[in-house]
């Protein structure tokens, strides 16, 4: 039994490790793909070369992120079976078709048009190339749609029956399964998170170059676009996150109790614990700093509304409070910091010093990784908050794992850690190197790779000569 527990815990660590690495890349590609589509659309519409140059600048980064997302994603699609085979057997009839739809409607679309997007502008012309960019951007969104539907069904399972061999099989219509209760909220919350992640990454790159040269047209344009996104999307996201939280309270109350740190029930209104240290042995929050009745106000819109605590949940059904509690605070804290930058940028804009306020630019550089940290923290909140179940309330994680020996999982985990750190570590270094290059009026092609003059920076040949005036503005 001990041996078995060890194997399961190793499998959990391996899944958490591989999915966390993977999730960073699509969170970025969903955002950059849309950004690239907007840039190319604006270029087509206005003929302003600055958009084409920014397109070429970010396309190089996109191609690296996309490749890392693809290869780390294939690992995920097989790991359900290699490590969580009992879950796959039982849940396959419900979630399998949704994942198959993801492959059929999203993966092929992205992969099929990616080649044309990266290498094909001189072959197909500007308009058809824009179609390819759009197809890739739409593909990333469709992919998010299906995989989040699967994830949401695991959080809020509906529309199923259990057959005589213990499989969860579709019983209601597929519409109900796809649009399960938490899905619309999770979809909007996650896609907005991807947009914010990209906005802050792009904003940081723009700000970095503005600090060196505030007249650089590419840096100005990307910073301005990113700050519009921050100012608009950050408040929207906080509003949507609140709705998502209310939905979670309705369907997964134990997760919200862990997020709030409510070990005890509060019949006369629950406090909002801002900070504190969860003490899982004594089942209380030590050194809590709290606002009386504020949690009831937020969650029930009534200061005196009763809120149940983890004392109403059997111990064996309780999620790990400490991880959920901290991850949630990191996410929310970063969300408000993003809102702060967004508002600051509006102030700067109104004072006409958006490009001329080094402190704002430094703050934006510091906030560059904030989106990545926030999406990981949010992911941890929702996934660890679902524990100890894989299918919430129905199938335990401990009963979902594949019959593998601990040494096998230990060996694979070690191999994943080594390969991922080397490969993705190198990829992240390359992204930083590209982002450190000043955006130029004629975004150069890599001089070391003449073969790719029409390759990785496809707008090159088309742009040369055509839009010099535009590019310089």
């Amino acid at each position: 039994m001990m041996e078995n527990d060890l194997a399961i815990n190793l499998a959990r660590i391996q899944f958490a490790f591989t999915v966390s690495f993977h999730f960073l890349f699509p969170a970025f590609t969903i955002g950059i793909a849309s950004y690239l589509a907007v840039l190319e659309g604006l270029w087509l519409k206005t003929d302003n070369g600055v958009y084409a140059n920014l397109y070429r600048y970010w396309l190089k980064i996109f191609s690296i992120v996309f490749a890392m997302g693809v290869v780390s994603g294939i690992v995920m699609s097989y790991q359900f079976g290699t490590n969580w085979s009992v879950f796959s057997d039982k849940a396959g009839p419900v979630i399998g078709p949704l994942m198959a739809y993801e492959v059929l409607t999203a993966f092929f679309l992205e992969a099929g048009f990616l080649g044309v997007m990266l290498f094909g502008i001189n072959k197909v012309g500007r308009k058809l190339h824009f179609v390819a960019t759009l197809a890739v951007a739409i593909g990333t969104f469709i992919s998010a749609f299906w995989i989040l539907s699967v994830n949401s069904w695991m959080q809020t399972p509906v529309g199923f029956a259990i057959n005589d061999v213990g499989q969860y099989v579709p019983a209601a219509g597929w519409w109900d399964i796809v649009w399960n209760p938490s899905f619309p909220y999770r979809l909007v919350h996650t896609v907005l998170a991807a947009y914010l992640t990209t906005a802050f990454a792009v904003g940081a790159v723009g700000a970095w170059h503005l600090l060196k040269d505030k007249t650089n047209p590419g840096a100005r344009k990307m910073f301005s676009m990113a700050m519009w996104m921050a100012a608009i999307v950050a408040p929207t996201q906080i509003f949507m996150g609140d709705l998502h939280g209310l939905n979670t309270l309705e369907h997964q109350p134990a997760k919200v109790m862990a997020m709030e740190g409510h070990y005890e029930s509060h019949p006369d209104g629950a406090p909002l614990i801002l900070f504190g240290i969860p003490n899982s042995k004594e089942k209380r929050i030590d050194y809590a700093i709290e606002i009386p009745n504020a949690s009831s106000l937020i969650l029930k819109h009534d200061m005196n509304a009763p809120l149940a605590g983890l004392d109403t949940i059997p111990d064996e059904d309780e999620p790990p409070v400490g991880i959920v509690f901290w991850a949630f605070r990191i996410m929310v804290g970063l969300g408000f910091a993003m809102l702060g930058i967004g508002m600051w940028s509006l102030l700067a804009r109104s004072r006409k010093k958006l490009y001329d306020w080094p402190l704002l630019h430094r703050a934006a550089v510091v906030m560059g990784p904030s989106g990545f940290i926030a999406v990981l923290a949010g992911w941890v909140t929702t996934e660890v908050g679902r524990q100890p179940f894989t299918i919430y309330g129905l199938l335990r994680t401990s009963e979902s794992a594949a019959p593998l020996d601990a040494p096998a999982v230990a060996a694979s985990l070690l191999a994943f850690v080594v390969v991922y750190f080397i490969v993705f570590g190198a990829g992240i270094v390359y992204i930083f190197k590209l982002a450190a290059k000043t955006p130029e009026a004629h975004e150069p092609t890599p001089d070391d790779a003449p073969i790719r003059t029409a390759g990785i920076t496809p707008a090159a040949a088309v742009l040369e000569g055509d839009h010099e005036e535009g590019a310089a503005t």
Binding site: F119, F416, A454
Partner: protein
């Protein structure tokens, strides 16, 4: 449509995905296998560029095969994947190394040799692991109830190692013939000189695997060699012989596209042979496709999607190949 028929259709769709994957990513991986033999500089760049726009789409068929198996035959997915744990994890890590090399070698000229090595190592590991996986599935898996019941080294046998090496030879041949078709000059001449030897290697491997297979399971023996079925099954080695002759003739005539398609033909026949051995089992000798099938509602829901999307996918994939048709010049796609 009855559930029995629907399940057969799904077995066909997944087999189709596997076939398309094997031939399409087969030549990508084959180029990775041969890569160290190409001269550093324009030759390597050309070889890489000949597949850079399409490898990602090619690899997606592997995801469809795996994802389709989960959706249409969840029990098979749940038994096969843990049984083949070590080779599958090795394959995934190999594909990671191979996939990132496409971008990284251009981004880091100072360490290009390293990423070229990673490209080859990843391709070799992924190919060998896929071959081992195939052999291990064919030789049989220990099953108890609804789960795998063997150890984590059960896959390792002389037969699975043989299929691993066989696939290395096969993919290398596909990659070689692809480059004959898509390139010119020194690289093409080099590939012509390899193709004949690789063809002989592959034929020897096919003969060895074919000779061993009927003795793995009694079922295989009867399916292949019992009268009157043998009249039908004997056509497969005969066709292999005919295509081999055509293949070597096309090489000696220095035809450019034909060797690639004959090599595909050899692969296709091997896969037909695999189907003859396995049908109608999904886990040979243990579990049939009907026992592993997902419920009717699940398979039907997906069939609607597949019936609409697979033709659409084939259409735009075909278009992407058309965009990058012709020889890959050393100056990129002009």
């Amino acid at each position: 449509m009855s559930g029995t028929e629907l399940t057969v259709i799904w077995a066909g769709i997944i087999a189709f995905a596997v076939v398309v994957y094997v031939i399409m990513d087969g030549f990508d991986l084959g180029i990775g296998i041969l890569f160290p033999n190409f001269k550093v500089g324009p030759d390597r760049d050309t070889a890489m560029n000949s597949i850079a726009p399409v490898w990602d789409g090619n690899e997606t068929w592997l995801v469809l095969g795996g994802g389709g198996l989960l959706a249409a035959f969840p029990l098979a997915y749940a038994i096969i994947l843990p049984a083949l744990y070590a080779p599958l994890i090795a394959m995934l890590l190999g594909l990671v190394l191979r996939g990132v090399a496409f971008e990284f070698r251009w981004r880091d000229p100072a360490h290009r040799a390293r990423w070229d090595f990673g490209f080859t190592a990843g391709s070799v590991i992924a190919t060998f692991a896929q071959g081992v996986t195939l052999g291990a599935l064919l030789q049989g898996i220990t099953v108890e109830g609804r789960a795998y019941a063997g150890g984590w080294w059960e896959w390792l046998t002389p037969f699975s190692l043989l299929t691993g090496f066989a696939l290395l030879a096969g993919y290398a041949l596909l990659g070689c013939c692809w480059l004959i078709w898509k390139t010119e000059g020194r690289l093409q001449r080099q590939c012509y000189s390899y193709a004949g030897r690789l063809g002989i290697l592959l034929l020897l491997a096919i003969i060895a695997v074919s000779a061993a297979t009927p003795f793995l399971e009694e079922e295989y023996y009867t399916r292949w060699l019992a009268y009157p079925g043998v009249i039908a099954t004997a056509q497969i080695p005969l066709a292999t012989l005919v295509i081999s002759v055509l293949f070597f003739r096309s090489l000696s005539k220095k035809q450019e596209a034909a060797p690639f398609f004959y090599a595909l033909g050899l692969f296709g026949l091997s896969l037909v042979g695999l189907a003859v051995s396995m049908w109608p089992d999904v886990i040979p000798g243990r579990i049939t496709i009907w026992e592993a099938a997902a419920p009717y509602e699940s398979q039907m829901f997906m069939l609607i999607g597949a019936a609409i999307m697979v033709p659409v996918i084939l259409a735009y994939t075909g278009w992407a190949y058309w965009v990058f048709r012709g020889k890959v010049g050393t100056d990129g796609y002009h």
